[in-house]
Amino acid sequence: MSQAIELQKDETFVLNVGPQHPATHGVLRVKMTMDGEYIYNAETVLGYIHRMHEKMAENRTYPQYMPNMGRLDYLSAMAFNHGYALVVERACAIEVPERAEYIRVLTVELNRISSHLVWLGAYVLDLGGFTPLMYCFDDREQILDLLEAVTGSRLTYCYFRFGGLYNDIDDEFISGTRSFIKRMRKELKMYAKLVTGNIILMKRLKGHGMIDYDMCKRYGATGPVARGSGINYDVRKNEPYGVYDQFDFDIPVYDEGDSFARYMVRMDEIEQSLRIIEQALDKLPDGEVNPKKKPKMIKPPPGDYYAAVETARGNFGIRLVSDGTNKAYRLKLRSPTYSNMHLFDEACRGMLIADALAFMGSLDLVIPEMDR
C-alpha cells in the first residue's frame, strides 16, 4: 500500500525514534523526517551498543572466544555457537561424533523456538496487545528450563566445543522435551486463535510493510524477512551443514511480502522446528559426545575460511582469517539483522509512523547483533 500522496519537503520535522524507545527493543535510533504522521525519510543510526566483538577476537584464543558467541544474538545464541564451531572445525578438519551432531541440531531448534516466542510476544506488544507477551514468555520458560539443565545458562549459551559438546544430555532432558512438544502443539492452536485470527491484527498486518525480491537482493536480506517475500532460501536446505540433510522438514515461504507473510513464516517455522526435534529425538544415536583424540591447541592452518548457519533471524556467516597462531588474525561476523534492518530506511518511506514501527517489529531485530 505505498502512499500515493506526495509529501512536501518544506513542512517536515525530524522525530527521533531515539535510543530509548519501547518499540525498538534495544538501543537503535532512527531519525525520521516526518510530514505529519507520514514518514518522509528515515535514517538509522547504529553503534549505541557496539561491543567490539571483532576486536576481541584478535586477542582471545579460539576456545576463549566461544562465550562471545552467546552475547552476540542472545535470543538464538545456540545457532551462533554452531556457526563458530563449524568454521573452526572446517579450518582444522576436526571430526564431530554423530551423537554430538544430533544434540547440536536438537538444541539449536529448541533455541529457535524460544527466539520466535520472544519475537511473537514483543511484536504483538508493539501492536498494542499485552497479553500474548506473557503467554509466550511462559512457554519460553519451559525451554529455558530444559536448556539450562544441560548447558548451565538460560540465555547466553556456551555449550559447543570444537568437535563436540560441553556435556551429554540425560534422559530427563529427553522426556522433558517430549512433554514440551505436546504442550507447544496445544499452545500453537491457542496462539492461532488468540493472535492470528484477531481481526484487528489482520487489518494492521495485511498489506503493510511491503518488501519485494529486488529489495531483498539489493540489501542481502535473509531469513524469515526474505522467506516472507517469496525467496526460498534457508541455509539448512541450501547449504546443508551438520546432519540437517537427514531430517525431512520444509521451509515455509509466503510470497505476499507484507508483515503478515513474515508473521506466518515464523509461526510455521515453530511447527517445523518441532518436527525436527521429534525426528532428532527418535533417531538419537548413542555414543561419545566428544571426539577421542582432541587437538591439544587449536591452530588452524593459515588462510581464510567461511561458514554460514541459519539462525532465527537469517544467515549468520563467519569469515575467519588465520595466520597459524592460536589467535584469529581477523574474524568477520556477518549478522543477519544488519542486512535485514538496512532495508528499513528505503521501505518505510511514505508509511505512517504506527505502520513503520509495526514493520520494524516484523523484521525481528536484535540490536547487539547488528552493532557487534
Binding site: 539489493r218 542481502g220 561458514a307 544467515n315 581477523r330
Partner: protein
C-alpha cells in the same frame, strides 16, 4: 552448464590483459601454502568442504565496480564486505562475499588489495544499495575511503571518531 562455470566465464574478461595464469593450484589448501608475495590476480577453484566457498577471485581495485555488476546480473546477493590489514605486506585487503538465493550453490569471493598509505576504493552502492552500511563500517574500522559513497560518516563508532580500531598498529 553449472553456475560455477557460468560465473567463471563471466568473470574471465576481467583478466583479458593478463598472461594466462599457470595451472590452477591443487584444490584444498595444503599445509605449507607459503606464497612468495601477494597472490597474482585470477580465479582459483576452492574446495567448498575445506574452505567454505567455491570461487576465489582476486582483481585489481579499479575493476571492482565492473566485477560487482557482473555478479549482480548473475543474481548473486552481497553477503558482507570484510577488511583485513596485512601489516607485513603493508597492504589492506577488502573481501566481498557473494551467495545465491536459489539451490545451485556457488559462494564466490572477490578480493582486492590496496596499499595502506592511501587506502581508497570505488564504492559499489550504485549496484548493491545494501553495501552502504558494510562500506561505512569498513571505513570506520580500517579508514578505507570509498569514493562516491553517498553518506560516508561513522556508523558504529561515535560521530566524531577519528581513530580506526581494527588496524594492527592501533593504540587506544
Amino acid at each position: 552448464m553449472s553456475i560455477e562455470q557460468k560465473t567463471r566465464d563471466a568473470l574471465a574478461p576481467l583478466f583479458a590483459d593478463q598472461p594466462p595464469p599457470e595451472p590452477p593450484e591443487p584444490a584444498g589448501a595444503d599445509e605449507s601454502e607459503k606464497q612468495a608475495g601477494p597472490r597474482p590476480n585470477g580465479i582459483i577453484q576452492q574446495d567448498y568442504s575445506a574452505r567454505g566457498f567455491h570461487l576465489d577471485v582476486q582483481i585489481k581495485s579499479e575493476q571492482i565496480v565492473e566485477a560487482v555488476k557482473i555478479m549482480f546480473e548473475l543474481d548473486y546477493f552481497l553477503e558482507s564486505i570484510t577488511g583485513v590489514d596485512w601489516l607485513k605486506d603493508d597492504q589492506l585487503e577488502v573481501v566481498y562475499d557473494f551467495a545465491r538465493y536459489d539451490f545451485d550453490l556457488c559462494r564466490t569471493v572477490l578480493r582486492t588489495r590496496i596499499s595502506r598509505s592511501e587506502p581508497s576504493l570505488p564504492t559499489i552502492t550504485s549496484v548493491y544499495t545494501g553495501a552502504s552500511w558494510h562500506e561505512r563500517e569498513t571505513h570506520d574500522f580500517f579508514g578505507i575511503v570509498f569514493q562516491g559513497h553517498p553518506h560516508l560518516i561513522p556508523l558504529l563508532l561515535p560521530e566524531d571518531a577519528d581513530f580506526h580500531p581494527l588496524l594492527k598498529d592501533f593504540k587506544v
